[in-house]
Amino acid sequence: MSDIILKTENLGISFGGLKAAQNVNIEIRKKQLYGLVGPNGAGKTTIFNMLTGVYQPTTGKFYLDGEDLTGKGQEFINHKGIARTFQNIRLFNNMTVINNVMVGLHNLPEFKCNFFESIFRLPRFFKTEKAMRKKARELLKIFDLEEERNNLACNLPYGKQRKLEIARALATNPKLLLLDEPAAGMNPHETEDLVKTVKYIRDHFDMTILLIEHDMKFVAGLCDEITFLNFGTVLAQGETKAALNNPEVIKAYIGG
């Protein structure tokens, strides 16, 4: 049991009368690639928003590594180990690529350097900066972005922006990585590349990844387990192939 990283218990939220998500129970084990699938408006991003503290769930609880994080703030949840990307990319557009990643490294304990040390340029400032820079370059290398490290983030092509966002999230050293439609808007070649990268992240960082995706092929090729959502409720859950062949799921997708 101890290898369960994320566990949600009857997680739900309603906006006014609209129940955007209800009774969502998910268990994700360590190093798992877990998919959150469903048609538009099924409440997938809403669940991400609850897990990262953007929205406060109205019912239920969720635990990261056994610790109850329900109702905590966004920064706190990130410090505890959940990092995310956004459906509509949110980079620090006017900062360089490497600075984007370095913002991600900001809170790691090994890169501590307080206001005083920064303002008076004490030795630790230089040590920290150098170490952060080195670490950021290592991360960028994995995503094939090292060459572009001094370009402004907004000048990157779309596919690379997506990658940079993942790199930034990884830089916070999370236990669980949430990817919101990472393949959206990518061409088949880029998607293939992304599948490889995601798998590499899992293996290289021993990362647990929860992702939202529309593309069934992408999900089938990548995820070990999925949860299928429709209108805020769980339709099917379990091993990817089996869940996708669930008649309810087929009905929801094809209609009937």
């Binding site: 991003t45 928003n49 953007v54 956004f86």
Partner: protein, 290 residues
């Protein structure tokens, strides 16, 4: 007796603030920007009344000229300064609006000089009701602004343009897809807001005839405060906030111990309201999309 006199003067001042606040709130609701130059439109209206009255001598014609000129000015400012920035950062728009306010003030000072002009619109005298002494202009202000606000509410609720305005304020993109001319609606909003500012200028000159290039600056800021207190973007909110502001001001001015601090008190109320309830009394919570 004094209480009622203060209350009426407060209500009259408040309805003037409400007129200005309506301009702020409508522009904010539809163009999603704080039109800092709005207060200075009042001043321009005041000068227009002054010019017409020295030429023709009729205050009503002065008011009409002011309303027309302000509408034109408001629309021009929108087209020249704000429209190019649509889609740019709100900070940029805000700074441009501040620049516009500055530009109007200094242009007025260039044309009319810095010495205040005396514009005596009309002297109506006082209404004596037993011990109660009420200046007639307060009643005119109250009556006129009441009628204007009712008309505006009806306009927004029942006409096609009004409903289009609501649609644009809810969702610009969706409104455009429904075939609403968003640019046209924004233009109309600026025109209406500026016309209301011209009326406010007229009311203010009725109250005190001194006209200078900073006539609109303070009332503008206070009316914005009123709009925020009422909940920015909300039309009834602007009315409530404006009246509240005027009444607080009148009562505060009436107590000699705190009279000099009146401005500070009003701003303090603003800060407190924003801290306790940032959406104002009647404002809606706007959720940020993530």
């Amino acid at each position: 007796m004094e209480f009622i006199e203060t209350l009426i003067s407060g209500l009259s001042m408040g309805s003037t603030y409400a007129m200005i606040a309506l301009g702020y709130t409508m522009v904010y609701g539809i163009a999603k920007m704080l039109n800092f130059a709005h207060g200075d439109i009042i001043m321009v209206g005041g000068y227009m009344i002054f010019v017409t009255m020295t030429a023709i001598g009729n205050p009503i014609l002065g008011l009409i000229a002011a309303v027309l000129f302000c509408m034109l000015l408001g629309v021009t400012i929108e087209k020249v300064a704000y429209k190019p920035l649509r889609g740019a950062s709100p900070l940029a728009v805000l700074i441009t609006a501040i620049g516009m306010s500055y530009l109007l003030q200094s242009t007025a000072q260039m044309i009319f000089g810095s010495a205040p002009k005396m514009v005596i619109v009309a002297d109506f005298g006082n209404l004596q009701l037993g011990e109660l002494k009420i200046p007639i202009y307060t009643l005119i202000t109250l009556g006129c602004s009441f009628v204007i606000m009712i008309a505006l509410s009806l306009f927004i609720k029942y006409t096609k343009v009004g409903r289009a305005m609501i649609a644009v304020s809810e969702d610009k993109g969706a409104a455009q897809l429904m075939g609403i001319n968003v640019n046209g609606i924004i233009t109309i909003t600026f025109a209406i807001g500026s016309a209301l500012a011209a009326f406010a200028g007229f009311f203010m000159l009725m109250k005190s005839p001194s006209l200078s290039n900073t006539l609109g600056a303070m009332p503008g800021i206070k009316a914005f405060t009123a709009a925020v207190i009422g909940g920015i973007g909300s039309i009834p909110g602007a009315m409530v906030g404006g009246v509240l502001m005027g009444v607080v001001e009148a009562f505060s001015l009436n107590v000699s111990a705190i009279a000099p601090y009146t401005d500070a008190i009003e701003f303090l109320i603003l800060i407190i309201i924003l801290l306790v309830k940032p959406t104002g009394i009647l404002g809606k919570v706007r959720r940020e999309k993530v």
